[in-house]
């Protein structure tokens, strides 16, 4: 058996809180810095949350290239859906380390993301994260983050123009 990295829930929580803060503050380049070179970011469809994006139509299925392109887009003043930028507030809780295999920790957490924008109703994106976190030394990187929405359909959540 290979040496498994020791990582505590508190360390993971600190990391996830820091990530949430970067996203809430629109510090998207710094957020990109948390990702591995082959990271992916996924939002499965409401009616097939367990689907695989190779044969299921997702809401978001970004590989690292597309996630970088998404950040570039969101930083542009021509990303009309987020210009002016919405305000968001992320609540992360129920953080659990489900397994650690080699240097990859599988972590789940619950989220509530409130999104506020002028002239728009408040949106509450509620769901759970499934993370694959690569832990090397004291350093944590995101290899995969999946945001699974609890809503039965997006409906009043409209489009998903922010990073969940």
């Amino acid at each position: 058996m290979s040496e498994q990295p020791q990582i505590s829930r508190a360390e993971i929580e600190d990391f996830l809180y820091m990530e949430a803060a970067l996203l809430d503050e629109w510090r998207l380049d710094e957020w990109l810095g948390l990702l591995t070179d082959d990271a992916s970011y996924l939002v499965p469809p409401n009616d097939a949350p367990d689907g695989d994006h190779h044969d299921t139509l997702f809401i978001v299925a970004d590989d690292i290239h597309r996630v970088k392109a998404r950040v570039k887009r969101l930083k542009s003043r021509n990303a009309h859906a987020e210009n002016p930028k919405s305000r968001t507030r992320r609540m992360i809780s129920n953080v659990r380390i489900r397994s650690v295999v080699d240097d990859v920790a599988s972590v789940t957490a619950n989220f509530v993301i409130y999104r506020f924008r002028r002239h728009e109703q408040i949106r509450e994106y509620v769901g759970r994260y499934e993370y694959k976190l690569r832990v090397c030394g004291g350093d944590i990187k995101i290899a995969e983050r999946k945001a699974i929405l609890d809503a039965e359909q997006l409906a009043g959540l409209g489009s998903v123009s922010i990073i969940l």
Binding site: T56, L57, H119, Q153, A155, G158, V160
Partner: protein, 424 residues
């Protein structure tokens, strides 16, 4: 009585205007419900969604909850999802397979052909109680064109084939993309609201005038990924095509692709390894359809609107999208991806990936469309002062020369809408 005309349509003067009250007045929506949604053919689902006897999907179409299902007898039906006893929904699942629909309230049971098969305590009913007359009610009309099922709440409506008019030819080009002629809806539904009047999405779905300015970030993304796309001066589309009325309010824009098509036009985003398979897909099209029609299927995009609210966009992927008004200023959109039955796993994954670059609530383009329609809706709260919207682009040209960035297709929608709204 309304004293304001809904549209001004003057070909001579090249003037076409729509009165903005039609997007904000609840009375207009009331009329649309009876004059349009109760009379036009409305999309309910695709044959591939009810493959096996017992398969069902519950949906809301034209404001009514319905069950789209295949009976044990192999027949596809659409039932009104309402118990004939007192009205309860008999099926509350999104989808599944069922031999019977059992209403939980008093436990009447219907089989998947609609027949009422069990009534607890039946002996308490009188001699006029006839289970044969209490079957689940079917929608008045149901028909399909090449697997696309549409229903009509008007028993006297013209046939679907007749109704579809010139739109059939465009559906054919999409169906032809499948070697077997069979398509399937791919798992994963995008269902989202837009806080705007439903007619704005009918317009937006094939408004190519907005594409360059609204979707600048999409073009930048294409460019960064290696697609040779220059945004021309004046922010019009990279390649011109045509806008066309197809009869009965249906219309289309039709242009040569400037990006990639999973069937069958390679772009760098698909990766070098995809070149060969795409070439094979194209070769199959050529051998089956001939060079000219293969060019249509592989190299040209189309956004098709089937009046009033079915949109099939065949561009970076093929999407089937329908939308209904919830109120005069909010709509619910439902969108799916569709592809050939038997498509390889790699081609299917590419189709879905290509879909997400542009379309959908998390795509690089659709969220900006949603934003455009929502801020338009906010802007036209001024409709009493700023009364008219302009849709006159290209009107000075002969009809067959009007472009996708002109607006003949939008005018076709509005002319039909206006015609139906003038009926009793």
């Amino acid at each position: 009585m309304d004293t304001v005309r809904y549209i001004i349509d003057d070909s001579e003067q090249a003037v076409f205007k729509v009165h903005r009250s039609v997007f904000v007045k609840p009375e207009i929506l009331e009329q649309e419900r009876s004059k349009i949604f109760d009379r036009c053919w409305l999309y309910v689902g695709h044959v591939s969604e009810v493959r096996n006897p017992g398969d069902f999907r519950t949906r809301v179409v034209g404001g009514r909850p319905v069950i789209f299902t295949k009976g044990a007898d192999g027949e596809i039906r659409v039932f009104l999802n309402s118990c004939t006893h007192r009205g309860t929904l008999v099926c509350r699942e999104r989808e599944g397979n069922a031999k019977t629909f059992r209403c939980f309230y008093h436990a009447w049971s219907f089989n998947n052909c609609g027949e009422l098969i069990a009534v607890p305590g039946e002996d308490a009913y009188g001699p006029n109680f006839d289970k044969g007359h209490l079957a689940l009610r079917e929608v008045p009309r149901l028909a399909h064109y090449k697997g696309f099922y549409l229903l009509n709440f008007d028993a006297h409506a013209e046939s679907l084939t007749h109704y579809l008019a010139g739109a059939k030819e465009y559906l054919d080009i999409i169906v032809d993309q499948s070697p077997t002629g069979e398509l399937e809806i791919i798992q994963g539904t995008q269902e989202y609201d837009i806080a705007a009047n439903w007619k704005l999405l009918a317009e937006n779905s094939f408004d190519d005038y907005h594409v360059a300015p609204t979707h600048i970030t999409y073009f930048e993304y294409l460019k960064d990924s290696g697609v040779n796309v220059a945004i021309p001066k004046g922010l019009l589309m990279p390649r011109h095509g045509l806008g066309k009325a197809l009869g009965n309010g249906h219309a289309v824009i039709d242009n040569q692709t400037y990006r990639g098509r999973p069937i069958a036009y390679w772009m760098p985003m698909y990766g070098e390894e995809a070149r060969e398979e795409i070439a094979q897909i194209r070769a199959e099209l050529v051998s089956r359809l001939g060079e000219e029609r293969a060019y249509r299927a592989a190299d040209t995009n189309r956004n098709l609107l089937i009046f009033p609210n079915l949109v099939i966009n065949d561009g970076s992927s093929v999407t089937v999208r329908t939308f209904f008004p919830l109120t005069e200023r909010r709509m619910r959109v439902t969108a799916w991806a569709i592809g050939p039955v038997g498509e390889s796993a790699t081609a299917r994954a590419r189709r879905l990936d290509s879909f997400l670059t542009f379309y959908g609530p998390g795509g690089f383009a659709t969220p900006d469309d949603v934003e455009a329609l929502e801020v338009l809706q906010q802007g036209i709260a001024t409709w009493k002062e700023v009364e008219w919207s302009d849709l006159s682009r290209g009107m000075t040209k002969p009809i067959e020369e009007q472009l996708n960035t002109d607006e003949p297709h939008l005018r076709a929608f509005w002319r039909r809408w206006n015609e139906l709204m003038q009926t009793d």
